[in-house]
Amino acid sequence: MTALLATICLILISIIVVQIGKVTELAGKIRGEEEYQEQLNKRQANYSLLFMVLFLVATIASALYYKNSMLWYGPNEAASEHGSSLDSIFNITLFFTGIVFILTQILLFYFAWKYRGEKGRKALYMPHDNRLEVVWTVIPAVVMTFLVVGGLDAWNEVMADVDPGEEYIEIEGTGYQFAWHLRYPGPDGKLGARDYKLITATNPLGQDWTDPKNLDDFHPSEIYLPVGKKVRVRITARDVLHNFYLPHFRVKMDAVPGMPTYFVFTPKITTEEYRRKLGALDLNGQPKYPEWHEPVDPSDPESPKRYEAFDFELACAELCGKGHYAMRRVVRIVSEGEYEDWLSKQQSYYESAIKGTDDDPYKTEETSEEPAVSETPAEAPGGAETE
């Protein structure tokens, strides 16, 4: 039935379209081709000019309208130290490309309008102009050089690994279909060895329990990090490609099975502070960003305001299958003290899930003897990890 209706609609539309076409062709015949074309030129040229104006107004207005939802404007300042340098390169690029965009669009449509065909007018014969061409080759080249230098400078700094002697927190994110599994090194500060062949339902990361560094590693369900401390995320994948993506921190890196990658960043603002910024009031006591003062649940005005419920998020940014769109984890940036508090409440995965089971290599017949864990952080010389 619907198919029939759709077909009938289509046929009707076709007939109308064809009729419009026929009528306009007649008009051309009646008036004489050339004159008719001149009139068309005029009309279309005017449309071009109108389009240009509307288009530029629409782009600029919509940009202003959405400005505060975009990540480097309004309250959405980068939450990591390197983030602001990337954002400023974005803005510099936007400045230059914005100028070029507006100028070229104006010239394009303005010329189209200005030089619309008129009967009896002759076009200018101007096959080339070497000086002009040199100018507009050199200018983009110079601007590009400028952008490249700034960009690469920042890039190489952001992507550098931690220096050997540096103090940092290492955490691990492992993507699998379809979630992130997180691992913290525990008191020894070192992530234990893994082997994918050891993965089982109870050992989701394939940790090798004979490696003492593993015994204190814990698996939280949220990322907790202290503000102002350098973090190195070790990024791995268990099955297919994933991508460890922290939009507010300008962090993004593929998770590749069989090849750990990393990203180093330093959070510079706590979740609480960020919420306060989103909910800030202006001098008159009015919300600076009203959209953040709306309730989370639009149907329930009593629900918390959006800024109160705000959290940093971890997402996946590399297509990994049908559940790709929902690999969410919450990221909480807290003060040093809160972080220590939180750490002390975490129980190692070994303790909670492995100890005393068949998987436990230290399991003895009667009592499970306490293996030498974490009390004295092993001062393992050489690399922080093994794999």
Partner: protein, 617 residues
């Protein structure tokens, strides 16, 4: 001959060709034109480049409709995720799951299948075969003054391999496990492991098979184009007298020849990993409750191979459009293209550079960040010849006497799109900015505007402009203009807002956005985009109706050279037969852009230079 002109009108072109033309004794070889003897050899297994061009075009249009329809379905999902989709259950069957209350929703597996098919179809079938296949075939022999391609037989094979490829892809849509659903880039391990996604089993097998045949088609075509351009130019047609269209097709064919075989290599290695247990791209994988034996492979290696094709591929798509637009703008502005030589050098530079920028798609893939330095530099260098081309198009309009037709409007629209999308490339090419923008909607906006829409505009400009040469009739101009305004406004409405989504961090390839607070705040914008997409699709229906109606009922072409163009294709009879020129071959006396020179409206390429006339450029 299939020359339908009835009255023996005397054409100026014929006189010129008779006087200066080159007699290659065409008729003596051509008793009875054995190629056009029956329906099958005329319309189906034709070896005439003009018919093959039409076959590519119409097949391309078929795929464009399918691909666009798919995008509407997944756009509905993105704009209205809660809406009842039960009404397309008759079409999609089990991929629409209906709950107790009768509300149907699109299965995520099939959402990803649609996105993947949409990408594959539009990039390869529509914008590679449908665009370059159509116009290279139509224009290379006609504009160079050749009777046909170097090998009409291989040319025919090229089309039929494309057809076969399309058939296989089409069949994969009906698989029980669904077509391939891992993105048009088909990164392993997702694409290599049937356990990883339902489309990665039989769906991926057919996808690979289809694309291998597609590559064969592209290569057969490309070999022909290159050989024809280098060997079969008519007398006087030096390389520097070729229209920019031909330069563009020529460089496109070279890019295809050098990059598509690399894709086949990558596909072969994937096939080995899939079927024979090798580990080129797979390592240390635990999936479906099982640790696989593969060790030592590198998924990143595949990405290198893929993008070594992938980046040239985007230029394979856009260069023909650039060529068509250069020609169309010049003809309708009644002015020589500005900076012909600079345009040629830009095409060559873009072609060359496109081979050394591929890793800009891989900044965040885990490659050594140090290598990114080279790729950033080369990537941003590419922006320079691109900018030169834009300035030259604008300068071509300057001082012109522009005739507004559907073709020239689409030409102007192309430049506008290319500017908008090219500029966002400068953000993405700068790896520092790409950290944030990679795999977000910003990238989607970038490549749809600069490649998708711009290439379509180039194609439309080409179709409206050369339709009379293909079918001996005109498409309706008014409908063409409505089509243009609807499409440019619609396309910007669809893709411009996506920049904002990307700048807000929204990742691409998400089935729905509300799992994340940060990504789920743009419902209105997503609805707007979806509605704009549906409306824009409506304007394309207008085009399709216009196209098919005009084949039989369009305004008849009464003169040979309706646009007053200088190039050779307009010196052929209104409906040229196989062999293109009934008698002698035209010879070329001047470059292709003598518009408005010495007070003359235009001077055809076959007209000899005046006594002390200096050649154009």
């Amino acid at each position: 001959m299939a020359n339908v002109e009835t009255k023996p009108v005397v054409h100026e072109e014929d006189l010129l060709i008779e006087e200066y033309g080159y007699d290659d004794h065409f008729h003596e070889h051509h008793h009875g034109d054995k190629y056009q003897s029956n329906f099958i050899t005329t319309y189906i297994f034709s070896q005439d480049h003009k018919m093959i061009a039409k076959q590519f075009l119409i097949t391309g249009m078929f795929w464009a409709i399918i691909g666009a329809a798919m995008s509407l379905i997944f756009r509905l999902q993105l704009g209205f995720p809660e809406e009842n989709m039960a009404w397309i259950k008759p079409l999609l069957g089990k991929w629409i799951t209906v709950n107790e209350s009768g509300v149907g929703s699109l299965a995520p597996e099939f959402y990803y299948a649609l996105v993947t098919m949409h990408g594959t179809i539009l990039v390869f079938f529509v914008l590679t075969a449908g665009l370059s296949g159509t116009f290279s075939n139509l224009l290379i022999p006609l504009q160079l003054g050749a009777r046909d391609m170097a090998s009409p037989f291989l040319n025919m094979l090229s089309y039929w391999f494309f057809f076969l490829s399309g058939t296989i892809m089409f069949l994969s849509l009906f698989l029980n496990t669904g077509p391939f659903a891992g993105g048009w880039t088909a990164y392993p391990p997702l694409s290599a492991l049937p356990q990883a996604s339902s489309g990665s089993g039989a769906g991926m097998t057919l996808w690979l098979l289809s694309l291998v045949f597609f590559v064969v088609s592209v290569l057969l075509g490309g070999i022909n184009y290159i050989t024809t351009v280098l060997n079969l130019r008519t007398k006087g047609m030096s390389m520097w007298r070729m229209p920019l269209t031909i330069w563009a097709f020529f460089v496109t064919a070279i890019l295809g020849l050098l990059s598509f075989p690399v894709l086949v290599s990558a596909f072969l290695l994937v096939m080995f990993d899939r079927g024979l247990g090798t580990s080129f791209f797979l390592s240390e994988i635990f999936i479906g409750g099982q640790a696989l034996d593969h060790v030592g492979g590198s998924p990143i290696l595949y990405q290198h191979l893929f993008w070594f094709l992938g980046h040239p591929e985007v230029y394979i798509i856009i260069l023909p459009a650039m060529g068509l637009v250069s020609e169309v703008l010049s003809v309708h502005a009644r002015k020589p293209i500005f900076g012909y030589k600079a345009m040629v050098y830009s095409i060559l530079a873009i072609g060359f550079l496109s081979f050394i920028v591929w890793a800009h798609h891989m900044f965040m893939s885990g490659v050594n960040p140090f290598i990114a330095n080279f790729f950033v530099i080369f990537t941003l260098i590419i922006a320079v010849p691109s900018a030169v081309k834009v300035f030259n198009w604008i300068a071509t309009l300057y001082g012109g006497n522009i005739r507004f037709t559907a073709a020239s409007l689409f030409g102007i629209g192309f430049v506008s799109m290319f500017i908008s999308g090219g500029l966002t490339g400068i953000f993405l090419g700068n790896s520092a900015i790409d950290i944030q923008l990679h795999d977000t909607y910003f990238v989607v906006a970038h490549f749809h505007i600069v490649m998708g829409v711009a290439a379509f505009f180039g194609m439309f400009a080409g179709i409206y402009n050369w339709y009379p040469k293909m079918f001996g009739r005109f498409m309706n101009e008014t409908l063409g203009k409505i089509h243009f305004w609807g499409t440019i406004i619609g396309a910007y409405a669809v893709f411009w807002p996506m920049h904002y989504l990307g700048m807000a961090g929204v990742p691409r390839r998400y089935y729905r956005f509300d799992s994340f607070a940060a990504f789920g705040q743009f419902d209105l914008m997503n609805q707007f985009i979806t509605i704009a997409a549906i409306v824009t699709f409506g304007f394309q229906v207008l085009f399709v109706i216009n196209f098919f109606y005009s084949i039989w009922k369009g305004k008849k072409m009464t003169t040979r050279n309706p646009w007053g163009a200088t190039t050779l294709e307009w010196t052929t009879p209104i409906r040229p037969g196989h062999g293109n020129w009934p008698g002698k071959l035209p010879t070329v006396q001047r470059w292709a852009y003598d518009y408005g020179k010495d007070g003359q409206e235009f001077i055809p390429q076959i007209q000899p230079l005046g006594k002390d006339e200096k050649e154009g450029h």
